[in-house]
Symmetry: C2
Subunit: 754 residues, 2 copies
């Protein structure tokens, strides 16, 4: 069995030897380097742009400004087309591209940026959610408020005037009435900071435009969506837009949909066919995308026995200057506000606001860490109010397999109690070490994995195999997983299989890499392609043996019939009558019910159990133990699955204890890796365990379901709950910095005194 | 109907604007330029090679010699693996690679070549066929004479000792006996010179070797065969050998099989992953491959009434220093010695000799011009001997459709009389203008087109189409023809279809581009893929309309059901539930009888009718009129078919009147475009007509058969026959230069006097 084995990563040697090429590593002749002039102001009208001095600088090939966009539709966006390639009328956040210079070298381009004169007329800054929703607030998108110039690309739902980018409202049962039956109402407000996704590789792209069409090398996680958007913007058929994605150095949502690609291609229109490269600095990428910050109020009515009667939740999210993926993020918060607990009456109102900050888009478990931080902290508060052990309370209230979390959605497809138990088993829950506190959290998310993937598998005349699948290898190990599926289905060793990066001219369509969909959806397409290929191989072998297909067995790279055997290479050669030819397997995945008749395809489920200690003089939390549980259905590659879940957990440790992208009235104050603190290996707990739950209950190949996001959602509430367990102090704002913890301890101590 | 229309070439704009990129145009960063040190001697032992001074030259990165081949199998060859990447023990022709230098620039590499000291021990030169077959002749391949170190790759048949590279013997009936019944025996010996294929683009390659395997950009016409050979030589699975072929500037057989590719890859092994480029000069390419020269003796016994009783033919061919495609060329001569005439008894002996000259390989109609020059001149001589008009004689003796030329082979699939009549119809055969002579020739060749091709067609979500087919666009118009087939089958306009060059990692297998097989074989694979795609499209449309497939019709880019219609883009989007996904059609061609149960798949048939005048003082022939006839079954694109046939005819005009690659005891004397005279446009006749015979009798799509080679075979005998018609002088050696014609006229005149 290749599937289920912790095989080596197929990209491992490339990566540890440095042979792996990322977009910025690719070598091009005639390459131009581009640099981007970015707005220094959060909100301003552009009065004029004078590029004459920059354009005259020797070595400058072209300068791109709003004046170059007149012959195309300059607006793009995956939910709303509300953003232009470069700022047109106004700038809306610090870092917004205003002009781009392409030059013979990066230094020349840099120098040229300083020669561009932009005259701005400053406008009042909409600094945050409060400012955005204030009466008479300045509008970021005037036209948005009006006739709706912006096209709702994704059909994600309501859009509104004012500074509201998107609103989602959801009601289940009759919450207003039901609250009357509650014995107690717990009402809390939580906040979650802006977080930068921090992929090691910043956004990178090389674009070229020739008679053949557009060619774009990009760090994009979504090459096929980029293709469609570029085709739309620049007026080409899809068949003439080639998007090539080599290795990608992490994405975590930061490379979803469209980031610098439209800009790169627009610049390439002006370079006379020469390729132009944009490789951002980390600071530039921190000013390109981030996770939504949020303010979440939850009111839950309960009975004395713990029964959840009704809930009302108001979630205000800061989407920044442009919609990016905000509407989808907002939509996904709903299920997390309902929570994986028995609850009949609920009312949820989610509003995403435009503010003069960097646009917020996707990040690992979109909307998840924000809402599960709030909900799972809140569940602890309820348990505490009721005087019930929070673990005990969860075990009582959790939904069972087959019960429905959200009407119309797929029923719960996991054993939540099993996972929760697994998260606390290695802890001494009832009697933690003196000075330590324990906490648990349960994360259940509806994956938005769309079931659309196509795969091809080519069996060549020497028996080696090329897998063509459009999943982007962003470090998650997708090429290994997909190769394992091929190896398993065709019964060949992994080293006979080659899979390279996507090239949309030759790699079949995949909707996207994200939403934990690759193993489940693309994996199913690959498995279907392998089955199709195997069928052809059997038919060809039967022809070669002059027998019927049911006498043929396939194993270890050979087709056998009784005591005779042929290698696959021999089967192919006999089929084509020469040492040549190839057999091609084809697999389609689409929403035809093959992966389930309802959505989500699967619930992405994970739990965390934390044990912490605290320096009461400084407020510094030390994570002593952490257990992360991921319900993966089936681990195709257990070591990779554990690695993914551990990675997600460590990333979540960032927003739990350290990370927050700070603004001062529209000016970013820590958009660099010195001031913005991400977790280090020394921050990891001494005991750090990953537990995989494998009940084979996923819709993917071999019972797999998506994973790799759940680890990020539970750690903040598990740690917060452990802090409460240890101190009785509930901190409702992240990150749990020493200062914040200390102040809250002092505040509650003084409140207790008064 | 797109098929049958003279649509614009899909590569036309690229080519006339200069946007089309050929291998030498491709831009690479870190590129190294390679230059090749070539043997100045025709036959010599290599005593020593000292590269130390060259390697020490600043800018030289690596030097390749025989010392670098110890860890690989350095021998390659498509028929016999008799040739090493660079010379090992001996050099066998002037121009043979001995060492290669890769340097930062071509100039440095050139300079370094001069610093390499090679000590040779000269060996006696085997200058030509006579020298090769002489008693006690020095051997070119000592081991060949012994245990047979060389592997007969293609299974082409007998190999022999001495300087014999290959021998083919064929007997039909009982010729020795039958000659006794002849009333007359006509015995003639003809010669055909060495000819250079002269593609405008010389051989070019860029090779790179990295952890991912081998990547080769090449002007090769046979990328999949190159892949297999490189995989074999350098020990990689096919899936790790990427051969990329952009536009190719003509091939005519000169780029068949393996030319500079093994050398380029061997060099790339030494450059630490940096790409290395070899772009040959025209002179270097003239010392890389050529057409076989030949000496052909034909004895035919006839009855007074013209009946052909028996024939004996001995064909001696000069294969040069290495086998290249010599054995296959020899094999193909058989059918042309039989000829497309009624003949029951025949004995043919064909021997290909090794000589110390540039290796002879494929050229347009391999073995065709040599043998048809002899046979069709000979047929005229027979007619003359019998006192029968040569046209009349042919019309009487030609095989009819369904009659068998060669036992076991496919029966004649064309109306040869119709074609012959068409070739002379525009001439005034019986009463040519005073001072003019007329001649006709019939060319019938067994195409060796192998029926192995695979094609994929991707219908993208916007309704645009990508065709993946491994036919190399060498200028013959293959991309246009294959795109027309897709357009026809899918009922879409040509500009919705994109087809690029081959990349073996993503383009499915095609046996080769050559032998006039692309329209017939790859065209059928493409048509099958389109049919497969159309079937899927109809099924998807039926699903979308919620009806059965038989109510769906496909036309003009839409699927219709009664009065409702959906564009293909809509069908794909509905199938996948989003504006994405794609449908992929797949087509296999293989020797399963789909293209016929016998070989050849088709007879490639063409005729030529010539009218000439002569300057009797100088012997200069002027071609006044020429009619070339090609029996194409069905012209997918008539203008392209005519262009191909005209091109072949003009190329044949070269060996008719001008071209001959001359050697002086192993030293080439005119391997350059100043001294080697190819036809100019001013050499074309005033009246130059191309006639296509379209009887729909080919096995290819829409009744097409292969074409593009026949034009080259008939012109020499048609002109030679016209000269005879005009002067009564038979010249049996090509080219028909003024001096040769004049001398022969003088000689025969004097012979007549004596």
């Amino acid at each position: 069995m290749t599937v289920g084995a912790s095989t080596h990563r197929v990209d491992g040697i490339d990566k540890v030897t440095g042979a792996a090429k990322f977009t910025g590593d690719l070598a091009f002749a005639d390459l131009l380097e581009a640099r981007v002039l970015r707005s220094p102001l959060p909100h301003a009208k552009i009065i004029s742009i004078d590029t004459s001095k920059a354009a005259a600088l020797p070595g400058v090939i072209a300068v791109l400004t709003r004046d170059d966009l007149s012959d195309i539709d300059p607006y793009y966006g995956n939910c709303l087309r509300d953003r232009a390639v470069v700022a047109t009328d106004k700038v809306r956040f610090v870092g917004e591209p205003v002009a781009v210079v392409a030059a013979e070298s990066g230094l020349i381009a840099e120098q040229a940026l300083a020669l561009i004169d932009v005259e701005y007329q400053e406008l009042p800054c909409v600094a945050d959610i409060e400012a955005a929703r204030a009466e008479g607030a300045p509008l970021l998108h005037e036209s948005q408020a009006g006739a709706g110039e912006f096209h709702d690309v994704a059909g994600v739902g309501e859009t509104f005037g004012g500074n509201i980018c998107h609103r989602e409202r959801f009601t289940k049962g009759e919450p207003d009435k039901a609250f009357a039956d509650a014995d107690d109402i717990i009402d809390e407000t939580f906040t979650f900071p802006m977080i930068y996704q921090y992929a090691m590789e910043p956004h990178s792209a090389v674009a070229r435009m020739t008679a053949d069409g557009i060619t774009l090398w990009s760090s994009s996680a979504h090459p096929f969506l980029v293709r469609a958007e570029l085709a739309h913007m620049f007026g080409y058929p899809h068949a003439k837009v080639e998007v090539i994605v080599p290795y990608v150095g992490g994405a975590y949502g930061s490379k979803s949909y469209f980031k610098i690609e439209p800009l790169a291609v627009a610049m390439a229109r002006k370079t006379g066919g020469r390729p132009v490269r944009i490789v951002q600095s980390v600071t530039e990428s921190m000013l390109t995308t981030r996770r939504h910050s949020a303010r979440l109020r939850i009111r839950t009515g309960v009975k004395h026995d713990g029964t959840l009667i009704a809930r009302e939740a108001e979630v205000l999210m800061d989407t920044g200057a442009y919609a990016d993926n905000g509407p989808r993020v907002a939509k996904r918060v709903i299920s997390r506000m309902l929570g994986p607990y028995k609850l009949d009456h609920c009312k949820i109102d989610i509003v995403a606001f435009y503010t003069n900050t960097v646009p917020a888009g996707s990040m690992r478990s979109i909307g998840g860490p924000q809402s599960i931080w709030a909900l799972e902290s809140h569940m602890d508060s309820i348990a505490s109010t009721l005087g019930i052990d929070p673990l005990e309370y969860r075990m009582r209230q959790l939904l069972k397999r087959g019960e429905v979390l959200k009407p119309g959605a797929t029923a719960i497809d996991a054993d939540l109690r099993q996972g929760t138990q697994a998260a606390v088993a290695p802890l001494n829950w009832r009697a933690a070490k003196r000075g330590n506190g324990v906490g648990v959290a349960v994360g259940v998310s509806d994956s938005e994995a769309m079931p659309v993937s196509v795969a091809l598998i080519r069996l060549l005349a020497d028996g080696s195999v090329i897998l063509l699948a459009g999943t982007t290898e962003v470090g998650q190990g997708a090429r290994t997983i997909l190769s394992q599926i091929v190896a398993q289905e065709l019964s060949i060793p992994m080293d006979r299989i080659a899979m390279r990066g996507t090239d949309t001219l030759t790699t079949p369509f995949d909707r996207s890499t994200g939403a934990s969909r690759s193993t489940t959806v693309m994996g199913s397409a690959v498995k279907a392609a392998a089955e199709d290929l195997r069928k052809q191989l059997i038919t060809a072998a039967a022809e070669a043996f002059n027998t019927s297909t049911n006498t043929i067995t396939i194993s270890k790279g050979e087709a056998r019939c009784a005591d005779k055997s042929l290698t696959y290479a021999q089967v192919v050669s006999k089929f084509f009558g020469m040492p040549g030819g190839e057999l091609i397997g084809r697999g389609y995945m689409r929403p035809d019910g093959a992966l389930g008749k309802t959505f989500p395809l699967f619930w992405e489920t994970g739990m965390g159990g934390a044990e912490i200690s605290l320096d009461r003089e400084t407020g510094a939390i030390k994570l002593e133990k952490y257990i992360t549980v991921a319900d993966v259905g089936k681990a195709i590659n257990p070591v990779q699955a554990e690695g993914q879940d551990e990675g997600a957990t460590i990333q979540g440790l960032g927003n739990t204890l350290f990370e927050s992208l700070e603004y001062d009235n529209g000016q970013p104050v820590n958009a660099n890796l010195v001031d913005y603190r991400v977790p280090r290996f020394t921050d990891l707990p001494e005991q750090f365990e990953s537990v995989l739950i494998e009940n084979g209950d996923g819709p993917g190949p071999y019972g797999a379901k998506g994973m790799g996001e759940s680890g990020i959602v539970s750690i903040a509430p598990a740690v917060g709950n452990a802090l409460f367990n240890l101190t009785g102090v509930r901190v409702r704002d992240l990150p749990l910095t020493p200062e914040r913890v200390w102040r809250e301890m002092v505040r509650q101590k003084e409140k207790g005194k008064s």
